[in-house]
């Protein structure tokens, strides 16, 4: 029995580029996230240091990770949409 997509998907020529970009951005975020965990394990007192606007490193880094995820997501979508518009249009013409 067929178990492909529930809806008919058009051909997407930008898959390779999007996949590569996704992997790069994943590793960038992973390194920043791992940095947070490493500080916690290696020198947790650093987390209590005031670093910005009266906030300690734990708060700034924690909020920063959430904000960074949103910004990376928006950037990824913008780049992927560009790839799709460019490459899928090239194929049509």
């Amino acid at each position: 029995m067929d178990h492909g997509p529930a809806v008919e998907l058009g051909e997407d020529l930008a898959i390779k580029k999007k996949t590569k970009l996704g992997v790069i951005l994943f590793f960038i975020y992973f390194i920043v996230y791992a940095g947070f965990v490493t500080i916690g394990v290696v020198d947790y007192k650093l987390m209590g240091k005031i670093v910005l606007g009266g906030q300690n490193l734990a708060v700034v880094y924690g909020f920063g990770l959430i904000l960074f995820a949103i910004l990376l997501g928006l950037f990824y979508n913008w780049k992927c949409t560009n790839y799709e518009n460019l490459m899928n249009k090239e194929e049509e013409s």
Binding site: G4, L9, G54, I66, A69, Y76
Partner: protein
């Protein structure tokens, strides 16, 4: 703790439930095919799907569990928020589009794409069921925790109500009704959490957190005298003294009421500080602070002992901005109530003693996860393992993965994930404010950390409490619906139709899905009643660990390593499930749950992911390399 029943809360809750059931009836007429039942026909708008993702994901663990954990252990609870959100990065960058491209109704479809392997169909379906059930437990526990203050009913009734409504929602219209329930609930949760945060900022901080609902209890301090090692207190009879884990607890009696106090030294003199306590006698009813529950002497707690604003000590602050709120707490002192259990003769006693905690400690990791003072390599490993599970777990949760099949295209799958990240990220920022707000507003029920956020809302007015409680209940309805759809897909589509080769046909598959939803609902109800009292976020941490270990190595390697074989995937899933479950079931927390001493557990690891994920990954690589001939045969057959 005794909660007064709120009529307004009941009305709002009933309106919501009626609306949701009406919606299910409406969509039921349109849900005839398997595609519409399991994947909403792939017709959901990406914006709706994004908020529905948030509705799916912001479960009882996020709203009740994280806020509660932050209220009791500060920043350590917020680590869950950070980890849960980070998990969406894996979903967006690595999994979203391929899942949409390769699958149809279930995540097994995507794994099995190009293999058509019975082993994958069986193991992936079992994994879906196990992960979904692990995730269902905390949702049902949360439902029980909520129903007590909301409707004044016992825990088990809440579990049964949620189970019944959800089975109805799923069995009528499957993924379509589930999606819209989650969309509405996700939107409402974010809006009203923002409202709650605004109330917190306007309320500011105060040493005496009286609120509209009730005056804060003034905790008593007694001045005992000690002569020849014999302790006495004027006006009281000293009836027992216990040394437990470095604390001296003293039971004193007055007017036939016995209460426990904490003996501490202040300025070189002994003082007895009032505690909260429960006593379960061998025969007889549980006593709260030495009296029957109905006497209402078991107080809500959580206050500050010192407030410092810009270097000056003050009694209250007035309204504060979000960042000023955080920095003021970091400079001040909070009184937490820490739990200690012991036996007094035949009585089982639990006390909560006052512990002054600096705001600095409250605002950084370390109160729950021992990574600083007193840390051992094992406690640090536990912390790393938890953060790994949260990061890797999201993209392997079956009820999240199936949501990629409800949109039209890969582009829509990607866009809906970004909407989800923004909505969920915004909500998680609010959890820190809600949790800390609850910690200092005198609203905490020491017996149920899960109730912190709704009880905080109650301090600001019964209207807000009613709405927040109804939304929290809806939160559980939405998430449980998603989990039951995922489980029913695994049973009807993966196991019966594909693995057993029954060729059910469209209508048969929908019918089997509905029966499966009913069966899973019953199991969820039973487990929800059995696990009463555990912090829901902690339980979800386990679900993430099992999902990350059983599913993610298989998904990632299938997508990114061409040498992956069907046997490699199947054995990796088995290794992930067995090792994660094995570690969890023999963990110190489960040992405590079995009624044994935590220290006697075979190992000290509470979070299995670091071992089980690695083991599953290694298994996949080794088995795939050993079975490369399978892939060669597959290529020749094509």
């Amino acid at each position: 703790m005794i909660y007064g029943v709120s009529i307004l809360a009941i009305i709002i809750f009933v309106i919501f439930v009626v609306f949701v059931l009406g919606l299910s009836f409406y969509f039921a007429r349109k849900t005839k095919s398997a595609s519409s039942y399991f994947a909403a026909g792939g017709t959901i708008h990406w914006g709706v799907n994004g908020i529905a993702f948030a509705g799916d994901y912001l479960s009882a663990a996020s709203f009740l569990g994280i806020c509660g954990m932050i209220a009791f252990v500060g920043y350590d609870g917020f680590l869950y928020s950070i980890g849960y959100l980070a998990g969406w990065i894996v979903a967006l960058f690595l999994v979203a589009e391929p899942m949409k491209r390769l699958g149809k109704y279930t995540f097994t479809d995507a794994l099995d794409h190009s293999f058509n392997s019975k082993a994958i169909q069986l193991t992936a379906a079992i994994s879906t069921l196990i992960v979904s059930i692990f995730y269902l437990i905390p949702q049902m526990v949360g439902a029980g925790a909520l129903v007590t203050p909301l409707l004044g009913l016992p825990h088990w009734v809440g579990v049964v109500i949620v189970g019944t409504i959800v089975v109805f929602i799923v069995a009528t219209a499957g993924m379509t009704s589930t999606t819209y329930v989650q969309f509405i609930k996700g939107g409402l949760l974010i809006i009203f959490s923002t409202v709650l945060a605004i109330y917190i900022f306007n309320n500011g901080l105060s040493l005496v957190p009286d609120n509209e609902d009730q005056k804060y209890h003034e905790f008593v301090t007694l001045n005992p005298t000690i002569e020849d090692n014999v302790l006495s207190v004027e006006g009281y009879d000293v009836v027992a003294q216990k040394e437990v884990k470095g604390h001296q607890f003293v039971k004193v009696e007055k007017n036939n009421v016995a209460r426990w106090y904490d003996l501490v030294q202040e300025n070189g003199l002994p003082v007895l500080k009032e505690m909260l306590s429960t006593t379960v006698p061998k025969d007889g009813d549980k006593l709260y602070n030495g009296e029957p529950q109905e006497n209402a002497k078991f107080y809500q707690v959580g206050h500050m002992s010192k407030i410092i604003v810009d270097g000056k000590e003050v009694e209250s602050t007035g309204p504060l901005g979000p960042f000023k709120f955080l920095s003021t707490i970091a400079q001040s002192e909070i009184v937490r109530f820490l739990k200690v259990k012991f036996n007094d003769g035949d009585d089982k006693v639990v006390v909560w003693h006052q512990s002054i905690t600096s705001g600095k400690e409250m605002m950084m990791p370390g109160l729950k996860f021992k990574i600083g003072e007193g840390a051992t390599p094992m406690t640090k490993l536990n912390f790393v393992s938890l953060m790994l599970a949260l990061f890797l777990g999201t993209a392997s949760l079956p009820h999240i993965l199936i949501r990629y099949y409800t949109v039209k295209s890969q582009k829509d799958a990607r866009k809906s994930t970004i909407i989800a990240i923004a909505a969920i990220g915004g909500f998680y920022v609010l959890t820190l404010f809600m949790g800390l707000g609850a910690a200092v507003t005198g609203v905490l029920d020491v017996e149920s950390s899960n109730m912190s956020a709704p009880l905080l809302a109650k301090a600001f007015g019964i209207g807000l409490f009613s709405i927040i409680s109804a939304i929290a209940f809806a939160t559980i309805l939405g998430t449980v619906s998603g989990l039951i759809v995922a489980s029913s897909g695994a049973i009807a589509h993966d196991l019966i139709d594909r693995y057993m080769g029954k060729n059910l046909g469209d209508a048969g598959k929908v019918r089997a899905g509905k029966i499966a939803a009913f069966a899973v609902g019953i199991v969820a109800i039973i487990l929800g009643i059995s696990f009463k009292g555990m912090n829901v976020s902690f339980l979800v941490g386990w679900a993430f660990a099992v999902a990350a270990s059983a599913n993610l190595p298989a998904i990632l390697m299938k997508l990114f390593w061409k040498k992956t074989t069907a046997k490699g995937i199947a054995w990796s899933i088995i290794a992930g499930i067995v090792s994660a479950l094995g570690i969890i079931l023999t963990s110190p927390t489960m040992w405590d749950r079995y009624g044994l001493d935590k220290l006697d557990a075979p190992h000290m690891l509470d979070n299995p992911a670091i071992i089980s994920f690695t083991l599953a990954l290694v298994t996949l690589v080794v088995v795939s390399l050993a079975t490369q001939k399978d892939n060669e045969k597959l290529a020749q057959a094509k």
